[in-house]
C-alpha cells in the first residue's frame, strides 16, 4: 500500500492575527494532511478560523475551504479594519 505524498506549505499571517497563531505570524513551514482545507488545517492547530477572512494562495485570493496542495504559499488575511 503506497503512502500519500506529504503536503508541505508555507504560512504567513497578515498583521495582528499573528499574535493568535502558534509561533507568531512570521512565515513558517507546515506539513498538512492530504486533502486538508485551510479551515481544517487551522482547526487542527487550534486556531479560531473566525480570525481570518480568507487566504491568498500563490497570489490568488482563496476561501478557507481551499484544499491545500504541496508547495502552497498561504497568506492568512485577518480583518483588521474599522475606518
Amino acid at each position: 500500500m503506497s503512502h500519500p505524498e506529504p503536503v508541505r506549505i508555507t504560512v504567513t499571517c497578515m498583521g495582528h492575527s499573528g499574535c493568535y497563531f502558534p509561533g507568531g505570524g512570521e512565515t513558517q513551514v507546515f506539513e498538512c494532511v492530504p486533502g486538508e482545507t485551510i479551515e481544517m488545517f487551522l482547526e487542527r492547530l487550534g486556531v479560531n478560523t473566525d480570525l481570518f477572512m480568507y487566504a491568498v494562495v500563490g497570489g490568488e485570493k482563496r476561501e478557507l475551504s481551499h484544499v491545500l496542495r504541496d508547495g502552497d504559499d498561504v497568506l492568512l488575511v485577518s480583518p483588521l479594519m474599522g475606518g
Binding site: 497578515m14 498583521g15 480570525l51 477572512m53 497568506l75 480583518p79 483588521l80 474599522g82 475606518g83
Partner: protein, 619 residues
C-alpha cells in the same frame, strides 16, 4: 519658534463681522495636544463658552490638520473637524481624507477656527493671507457634489473645497461636510453647524512649504515607509477591495447590521460584498493625498431609479444603507450612497434613520398617511424617499432629521428600544451583542456610537466572545492608539489594514517636528485628549455620565433572533460590569467622570473648577 511640521499660526474667522486674525500656534498647545483632534479638543474647551447652544454664534467649528499632514509620507492627507455637536450636545468631531487638509498647511495654518454667523449664505475663501467671505450665490441650495464642482469652476481647480449639501442648510443633525467629490467628515452633524452659520463652503489654496526639522532623514524614512507598505503581503490582497472587503466576515461572525439591527446576519450579503463591488460597479481606485493604499472605489451603477456615479460604497455605507435596510444589490446601495452624498447626509446616521423608520412602519408606529407612502425592507424607493424627506425636513423627514433618539421620543410606542444610538449618535456598522469589547468601545466612544476610536471585534473573536474579562482594557488601549492618528493628521488604515508597524510613526514624528517624543509620550497625549473631551461633554450636558454610556435597550434585552450570534445578548448587568471595569481602569468615578487625580496627572487640572462648579467633583 516654528517647529517642523507646524506652520506657526492659527486662523480665526468671525463670520458675523467677516473679520479674521491669526494667532501664533502656542508651544504648550503643541506639546500637550500635538495637533488635529488634540487642537480641536483644546480649542473647543477654551473658546466655547460653557452652556453654548450648538446652533449659536458662540459655537465654533475647528478644522485642524496635524503636524504630519501634507508631509511626504503614507496617509498624510487627513483633517479633523470638531464642534459642540447638535446631534448629541456633547463634544463632536469627525475626520476626513482627500486633499483639503494639506492645502490648509500650504496656506500657512495649523488650524482654522470659525465662529459667528454670516449675514447671508456665504463661502469662506482662504487664499494664503487673503481671507474673505463671498456670497454663496447659486451654490446655496445645490447638492454637495454639484456645489463643489461649481466652486471649482468659479475659483479655480487649484482650490481645495469642503462643502455642505441641502441637509446641512436645513440643519439636519447628521449633515456632513463633503470634499473631493465623495470624501466626508460624516459624523456628529458638523454640516448642520455650518448650515446654521450660513457657511456653504470653505475653499482653500496655498503654496507655502512645510518646514521639516530633519529633511534628509525624514525623506529617507518616508521613502522606506512607502516601500514597506508596497511590500506588505496584505497590500495586493486588500487594496482592490478597500473596506468593503470585510462584509463577508462581519456577516459570518454575526455582527452585520440587518433590518435596523434586529438581526445580525444578512442573507443577501453576497450581493453587496467586496466581490460584488469589484465585479459589478467599481471603475477605478481613488485615494487621498499621499496614499499608497487607495481605499476609495469610484463606481458606476444602474438601478430601476436611474444611473449614478459615486465614490463608494465603502463598508459603513454598505452596512447601513445595505443590510440595515435590507438592500441586497450593490447597485442599489451605490445609488442610495450617491443620493446621500449629494444631499450631504452622513450615510451611517442616514441608514440608521431609514432602518428605524421602516421598522416603525412595519410595527404600525408610523402610518402610510404620516409617512406619505408605504415603506418596506429591501425597497430602494423607500430608502431614497426617506433620505430626501430628511434632507428637506419635510413631513416624516423633519422628525427623523433630529436623529433616531429624538425621533423615538416623538413617535413613542416602544420605538426608543430600537433607536440604535449612544449619546444621540447613531450606531455604525458593527452589531455588538456578541462582542463585549466592541460593545464597551461603542458605549464609551467620546462622540457617541462610532467604531473608529476602538475597533475591538477581532479581540473579542480571539479571546472569547462570551467572557467580559480584559474587554474594557483592550478598548482603552485602542482608544489611545487609534485617535492618535487623528492628532497627527494621518490615516490609520495602512496600520490597521495591511499591518504597517506603529514604530514607523514613532520614528518619523521627531524627524519631521524636531520634538523628541517617544510613542509612549504620544499615547499619553492621546489619553489627555480623551479625558478632555469627556470633561467637555460633562461641562456641556446636565447630568452627563454613566447614563449616557448605555447601548439601546434592544442590545441589552433582545437576544439575537437567528444566525451565527443566535441567542446572544449583553444584559444591563453585563454592560454595568464592563462600565465599572472601564471607569476603574481609567481613573474615573463610577459615574463616569474623570477623577481629580487622573485630571491632575494628565495636566488637566484646569478643568477641575468647572467640573466642581457643575457638581461632578465634590469638594
Amino acid at each position: 519658534m516654528t517647529l517642523g511640521g507646524y506652520m506657526g499660526k492659527i486662523l480665526h474667522v468671525d463670520l458675523t463681522t467677516g473679520e479674521s486674525l491669526t494667532v501664533p500656534t502656542g508651544e504648550d498647545l503643541i506639546r500637550d495636544y500635538v495637533g488635529g483632534r488634540g487642537f480641536v479638543a483644546k480649542l473647543l474647551w477654551d473658546l466655547v463658552p460653557p452652556g453654548t447652544e450648538p446652533f449659536s454664534e458662540d459655537n465654533i467649528v475647528v478644522i485642524a490638520p496635524g503636524p504630519l499632514t501634507g508631509v511626504y509620507m503614507p496617509g498624510s492627507g487627513k483633517v479633523h473637524m470638531g464642534t459642540k455637536s447638535p446631534a448629541t450636545g456633547c463634544y463632536g468631531d469627525s475626520n476626513m481624507g482627500g486633499h483639503f487638509s494639506p492645502e490648509i498647511k500650504y496656506a500657512g495654518y495649523d488650524a482654522i477656527v470659525i465662529k459667528g454667523k454670516a449675514p447671508e449664505p456665504s463661502i469662506l475663501v482662504i487664499d494664503e493671507d487673503s481671507v474673505r467671505l463671498e456670497g454663496a450665490g447659486d451654490v446655496w441650495g445645490a447638492g454637495a457634489i454639484t456645489a463643489e464642482k461649481r466652486l471649482k469652476e468659479r475659483l479655480g481647480e487649484d482650490f481645495q473645497i469642503a462643502v455642505i449639501g441641502p441637509a446641512g442648510e436645513n440643519l439636519v443633525k447628521y449633515a456632513c461636510i463633503s470634499h473631493d467629490f465623495g470624501r466626508q467628515a460624516g459624523r456628529t452633524g458638523i454640516g448642520a453647524v455650518w448650515g446654521w452659520k450660513n457657511l456653504k463652503a470653505v475653499c482653500v489654496r496655498g503654496s507655502r512649504s512645510i518646514p521639516i526639522a530633519k529633511p534628509r532623514e525624514a525623506f529617507d524614512k518616508a521613502k522606506e515607509m512607502y516601500a514597506t507598505c508596497y511590500g506588505k503581503p496584505g497590500f495586493k490582497a486588500w487594496t482592490p477591495y478597500g473596506t468593503a472587503e470585510v462584509v463577508n466576515w462581519v456577516n459570518k461572525v454575526g455582527a452585520f447590521p440587518t433590518r435596523n439591527f434586529s438581526e445580525t446576519y444578512f442573507e443577501g450579503h453576497e450581493g453587496i460584498n467586496g466581490q460584488a463591488l469589484v465585479d459589478r460597479v467599481k471603475l477605478i481606485d481613488k485615494g487621498c493625498f499621499g496614499c499608497p493604499t487607495p481605499c476609495g472605489k469610484y463606481s458606476k451603477a444602474k438601478t430601476s431609479l436611474g444611473e449614478v456615479r459615486v465614490e463608494g460604497p465603502e463598508y459603513e455605507t454598505i452596512a447601513l444603507l445595505g443590510g440595515n435596510v435590507a438592500l441586497s444589490q450593490i447597485e442599489e446601495v451605490a445609488y442610495a450612497n450617491a443620493v446621500a452624498d449629494e444631499l450631504g447626509l452622513d450615510t451611517i446616521s442616514g441608514g440608521n434613520a431609514a432602518g428605524f423608520a421602516i421598522e416603525c412602519f412595519k410595527k404600525g408606529l408610523l402610518t402610510e398617511e404620516q409617512v406619505g407612502r408605504v415603506l418596506d425592507w429591501g425597497d430602494l424607493a423607500s430608502v431614497v424617499y426617506l433620505l430626501e424627506k430628511i434632507a428637506k425636513r419635510e413631513g416624516i423627514g423633519d422628525i427623523l432629521a433630529d436623529g433616531v433618539k429624538a425621533a423615538s421620543e416623538r413617535i413613542g410606542g416602544d420605538s426608543e428600544r430600537f433607536a440604535i444610538q449612544v449619546k444621540g449618535l447613531e450606531w455604525s456598522g458593527y452589531e455588538a451583542r456578541w462582542a463585549p469589547s466592541m460593545m464597551i468601545s461603542y458605549m464609551t466612544c467620546d462622540v457617541g456610537a462610532h467604531h473608529n476610536r476602538s475597533w475591538a471585534i477581532t479581540h473579542d473573536v480571539a479571546t472569547g466572545r462570551d467572557n467580559l474579562e480584559g474587554k474594557s482594557e483592550k478598548a482603552i488601549e485602542l482608544q489611545h492608539i487609534r485617535p492618535l492618528f487623528d492628532a497627527l493628521g494621518l490615516c490609520r488604515l495602512q496600520w490597521v489594514e495591511i499591518g504597517f508597524e506603529l514604530e514607523n510613526y514613532a520614528e518619523v514624528f521627531p524627524l519631521v517636528t524636531g520634538i523628541e517624543a517617544r510613542w509612549e509620550d504620544l499615547l499619553r497625549v492621546s489619553e489627555r485628549i480623551w479625558n478632555l473631551t469627556r470633561a467637555f461633554s460633562a461641562r456641556e450636558v446636565d447630568g452627563f455620565g454613566r447614563l449616557w454610556d448605555y447601548p439601546p435597550r434592544r442590545f441589552m434585552e433582545e437576544p439575537v433572533p437567528s444566525g451565527p450570534a443566535e441567542g446572544k445578548v449583553l444584559t444591563r448587568e453585563q454592560c454595568d460590569h464592563l462600565l465599572d471595569d472601564y471607569y476603574d481602569r481609567r481613573g474615573w468615578t463610577r459615574e463616569g467622570i474623570p477623577g481629580e487625580d487622573k485630571l491632575e496627572e494628565l495636566g488637566l487640572g484646569f478643568v477641575i473648577p468647572e467640573l466642581t462648579r457643575r457638581g461632578y467633583i465634590l469638594k
